[in-house]
C-alpha cells in the first residue's frame, strides 16, 4: 500500500452509489477525498459516513472543476500519487494497484485506464462507437496514441498532477486532461482496466448529444486562450 496515495472522487447527486464506492476504497486502505459538487441528495454526508474526507463545493460547477478541486486538496496533503475514480461505481478498486505499478515500472507521470485494452461490460454499441470517434479526435488534436480517451480511472504522480491545470469545468475536462498531458511532454502509459456499466451509471453518464457541447467548449477555450 502506498502511504501517500489519495483517491479522488468527484460526485454530484451520487447518493445511491457513493457509499459503496467509498466503503470499498476505504476497505482496501486508500485515503479518499470526495468532492461534493453542490449535491442536494446528501451525497457528502453519505461519503463522510463511509470514511471519506469530503470537500464541499458551495455551488455545482461540474466534474472537471470538482476533479481540479480534489487534485488541489490531495496535493495540499502531500500526496505522491493521485488516482481519479468515478463516483458512480463503474470502476474496480482492484485496478488501482495496476495503475500505480505501471507508473513505477514505466517511469511515467500518468497512467490512463483503458477499457478497450481491458474489459467492459454492458457497454452500449452507440457509446462504443462515440468513444472510438473521441479516440480518433484525441489522436488528431493532441498526438496521443490512446485506445480509450474518456476513461475516468487514472493515476498521476505528484509532478504530473502539478503539471496540469483543468479549466474545463464540465464534460470537456476529459479531453482537456489529455491535451494537458500532451502539452506537459511528460511520459504516459495506458493500463488495461475493467468498466462495468449498470443501469444507474448509464443513466448518470454522458449522452451522445453532449459530444457537441464538448466540442463547443473546447473550441471556446481555444478562442479565449
Amino acid at each position: 500500500m502506498h502511504p501517500k496515495l489519495w483517491v479522488i472522487c468527484a460526485a454530484y447527486n451520487e447518493a445511491p452509489a457513493i457509499g459503496r464506492v467509498v466503503t470499498e476504497l476505504r476497505r482496501a486502505g486508500y485515503k479518499v477525498v470526495v468532492v461534493d459538487d453542490g449535491s442536494t441528495d446528501g451525497t457528502g454526508q453519505i461519503a463522510a459516513a463511509a470514511g471519506a474526507t469530503v470537500v464541499v463545493q458551495p455551488i455545482n460547477l461540474g466534474q472537471g472543476a470538482a476533479l481540479q478541486t480534489g487534485i488541489d486538496y490531495a496535493l495540499s496533503q502531500d500526496a505522491d500519487i493521485l488516482v481519479t475514480f468515478d463516483a458512480d461505481g463503474q470502476h474496480r478498486v482492484s485496478d488501482i494497484p495496476r495503475l500505480v505499478d505501471a507508473l513505477g515500472r514505466e517511469r511515467a507521470d500518468f497512467a490512463l485506464g483503458s477499457r478497450f485494452l481491458g474489459q467492459s461490460y454492458n457497454l452500449p454499441a452507440l457509446r462504443r462507437w462515440v468513444l472510438h470517434a473521441a479516440t480518433v479526435f484525441t489522436r488528431l488534436t493532441t498526438g496521443l496514441r490512446l485506445t480509450d480517451s474518456h476513461n475516468g480511472l487514472r493515476a498521476l504522480t505528484r509532478q504530473g498532477a502539478a503539471a496540469i491545470r483543468l479549466r474545463q469545468n464540465r464534460m470537456a475536462h476529459a479531453s482537456e486532461i489529455l491535451a494537458e498531458i500532451a502539452r506537459s511532454g511528460r511520459r504516459y502509459v495506458e493500463v488495461p482496466v475493467t468498466i462495468e456499466y449498470t443501469a444507474y451509471s448509464l443513466a448518470k453518464g454522458q449522452r451522445i448529444g453532449d459530444s457537441v457541447m464538448i466540442l463547443r467548449d473546447l473550441f471556446a477555450q481555444e478562442l479565449s486562450r
Partner: protein, 150 residues
C-alpha cells in the same frame, strides 16, 4: 459563392448552439434557431429576401444590411459567450477557495472497519462560507449586550 458558404457555416454554428442551449433556455434556443434557419434560407435564396424587402417597402440594398447584421450578431454572441466563460472561471476559482478553506471532515488514517462512521460536521461545511462571519457577528452582539447590561 464564398460569402454564401462562410455565412452558411457561421449560421450552422448558431443552429448547433441553439441545440445545445435548448435544455438550459428553450426560448433563447428557439429564437436563435428560427433566426439562423431564416438566415441560411435567405443566404441561398436571396431573391426571396428581395421580395420580402419589396413587400415591406425596402429596396435591394437591404441584403447587405441583413448579411452585416447577421455577421455582427454572431460576433456579439461569441463575444458574450467568451465573457461568460471568463466570469465562470473566476467564480470557479472563488468557489474552490471556499471549498478548500472549509474542509472539516477528516477520517481516521489507515484501514477502516466496515460499517464504521466518521464524525461529520458536513452540514456546517455546506453553509460554512458565511458561518464564521455569522459566528463573529453573534459574538459581537453578545459582547455589546454584556457591555450594556454592565
Amino acid at each position: 459563392m464564398i460569402a454564401q458558404v462562410i455565412f452558411s457555416l457561421l449560421l450552422c454554428s448558431v443552429l448547433l448552439y441553439a441545440w445545445t442551449e435548448y435544455r438550459r433556455s428553450p426560448v433563447v434556443a428557439l429564437l436563435s434557431f428560427v433566426v439562423a434557419a431564416a438566415g441560411v434560407y435567405f443566404v441561398w435564396v436571396p431573391a426571396h429576401s428581395t421580395r420580402l424587402a419589396e413587400f415591406v417597402g425596402i429596396g435591394r440594398g437591404v441584403d447587405l444590411v441583413l448579411y452585416t447584421w447577421v455577421a455582427i450578431s454572431l460576433i456579439v454572441l461569441l463575444n458574450l459567450h467568451l465573457k461568460l466563460r471568463t466570469q465562470l472561471e473566476l467564480i470557479t476559482v472563488l468557489a474552490r477557495k471556499i471549498a478548500l478553506a472549509n474542509v472539516n471532515v477528516r477520517p481516521v488514517e489507515g484501514r477502516r472497519e466496515p460499517g464504521a462512521t466518521s464524525v461529520s460536521t458536513l452540514n456546517d461545511a455546506r453553509t460554512s462560507p458565511l458561518k464564521p462571519h455569522a459566528a463573529k457577528l453573534d459574538e459581537g452582539r453578545s459582547r455589546r449586550k454584556r457591555d450594556r447590561s454592565a
